[in-house]
Amino acid sequence: MTCVPTGSYRPPRPSVARTRPLWFALVLALASAVTLAFLFIPVLGIFVNTSVARLVSSLGNPESTDALRLSLETTAIAVAVIALVGTPAAYALATRSFRGKAVLVTVIELPLVLPPAVAGIALLAALGPNGILGGVLKDAHITLVFQTAGVVVAQVFVASPFYLRMAQTAFAGIDRSLLDTSRTLGSTEAGSFARVAIPVALPALTAGLALAWGRALGEFGATLMFAGSLQRVTQTVPLAIYDEFANDFPAALALSAILVIVSAAVLIAVRFVVGTAALGSAGR
């Protein structure tokens, strides 16, 4: 599986083919049907095997509710951290050019393509008790392993590149003359950033945050390896699903269904936000 960076892909607009042979139309239809079935049937399986009653009753299971609450709390903190630190960082990357920028951007985007287990090992090797920063953290009395803070660290690590990439592309796409005009009217760079760049880029920033949130919500491998799994402390919804799989398959299905619904809501919300923005800028 690869997670390809997504910023600049732009397929050519095909010209209308009037002479397309029938067999090719059949190939297209068949390939589309196979793609749809392959991607959709597993999701369907979750809902066929569970029921609304089961979903509701799983909300009464303390392991599930604790996991849902913990997931909401940790991902909210993770997204806030990503927005606060990531927005200025993405702005700097988008508006400055310097030697080695391409290398830096690649390093920042690396977690996009890292397998979750590699992310977990990397976090342990860096921030674990025996990691390269383990001594520094210990002296500062900061413990991340087996702590809720460790869950947030894992989520920020895997999810922030999604936001950084979207935000950087959005800031880079802002018309320079807009920012320059703002500067000639007496605004400081900080003022232009806050009053021009952020409002103009807001739809893309929102979409980026939603994507980052979705990724943080689904984080599994790095959390298990780095933060561990303990109910109410580090056991987020994906870890609870893994745990319930052996214990109570219907409960695992119900929790999975909840995650599917939430993820779909993120997807639809992002499409809605970006779609509205496209309409809004059409008349400009």
Binding site: M1, T6, L112, N130, L230, F249
Partner: protein, 263 residues
């Protein structure tokens, strides 16, 4: 300008969906085709604690080329309940094979080895020298989830403590891992001060961990059960594999790694 952005966004969304769903699972595919050497491929779902001994046995097993799926026994049993069909299921307890036998999913299980639960600590650490040290506040103890055998045995041990000791030990539990491999990992990373493991897990780390014996009065009976799966793709080779564990080469490999004869 915005309209064009929606295409990369769509790609981003699809990418996200792909990334979000990738879980590091331990399942192997249930392929039953012949290997390149012409020997059939025997798929064995085995408890994570059997990894070293079974891997050795697998290289000696001549009737088939053995392929293993090592994970928590509870996870493997759940897969079998969900319709996964390996040839053999080897569990770190007798409860799970008996449960599957009761549901008609496996043939009659046999006990092929025993083990001992110990308190494992990092070799370089002197924080925990006895079970009493685990009761001290600030000790980080890692155990298995209640459904994986090692966690189930741990609960048996804890239930034999006095209520005050029981509470103190539970307060030290900072992490519940899905199998012994994960507990070994947390201990050898120095992330935890102690964990409940099998003596064979400690031996397999080649000195990275050391074992603290439990008092005999607390020691649970740790027995390993194995069964051929009903409808196994290669039943005769599966039976040979099981026979070797009870009385053949597999028995020797188990003893060499510190497993005890079934009692």
């Amino acid at each position: 300008m915005r309209g064009r952005r929606s295409i990369p966004l769509l790609v981003a969304l699809l990418t996200l969906a792909a990334c979000g769903s990738s879980k590091s699972n331990t399942t192997t595919s249930n392929g039953s085709t012949s290997s390149s050497s012409g020997k059939p491929t025997l798929v064995i779902s085995a408890a994570a604690s059997l990894k070293k001994a079974f891997t050795t046995y697998g290289t000696q097993f001549s009737a088939a080329s053995a392929r293993f799926s090592f994970a928590g026994s509870d996870m493997l049993a759940a897969q079998i309940e969900q319709g996964v069909r390996p040839d053999v299921f080897a569990s770190a307890n007798t409860k799970l094979p008996a449960m599957l036998y009761g549901k008609g999913l496996v043939d009659k299980p046999v006990v092929f080895a025993a083990n001992k639960l110990v308190l494992a600590v990092p070799a370089g650490s002197s924080k925990v020298k006895s079970l009493a040290d685990v009761e001290k506040p600030g000790t980080v103890l890692v155990v298995g989830t209640p459904t994986v055998p090692v966690g189930d045995y741990t609960n048996t041990v804890l239930a034999r403590l006095t209520p005050a000791q029981h509470r103190a030990v539970l307060a030290s539990v900072k992490d519940r891992e899905p199998d012994v491999t994960a507990i070994v990992g947390k201990l050898s990373q120095g992330a935890a001060d102690a964990g409940f493991l099998y003596i064979t897990d400690v031996k397999a780390t080649d000195g990275k961990l050391k074992a603290i014996d439990l008092p005999a009065s607390l020691q649970p009976r740790v027995a390993y059960g194995v069964a051929v799966i009903k409808g196994a793709p290669h039943p005769s080779q599966a039976q040979q594999f099981v026979a070797g564990l009870v009385s053949g080469a597999g028995r020797g490999d188990l003893r060499a790694d510190g497993f005890l004869p079934p009692s």
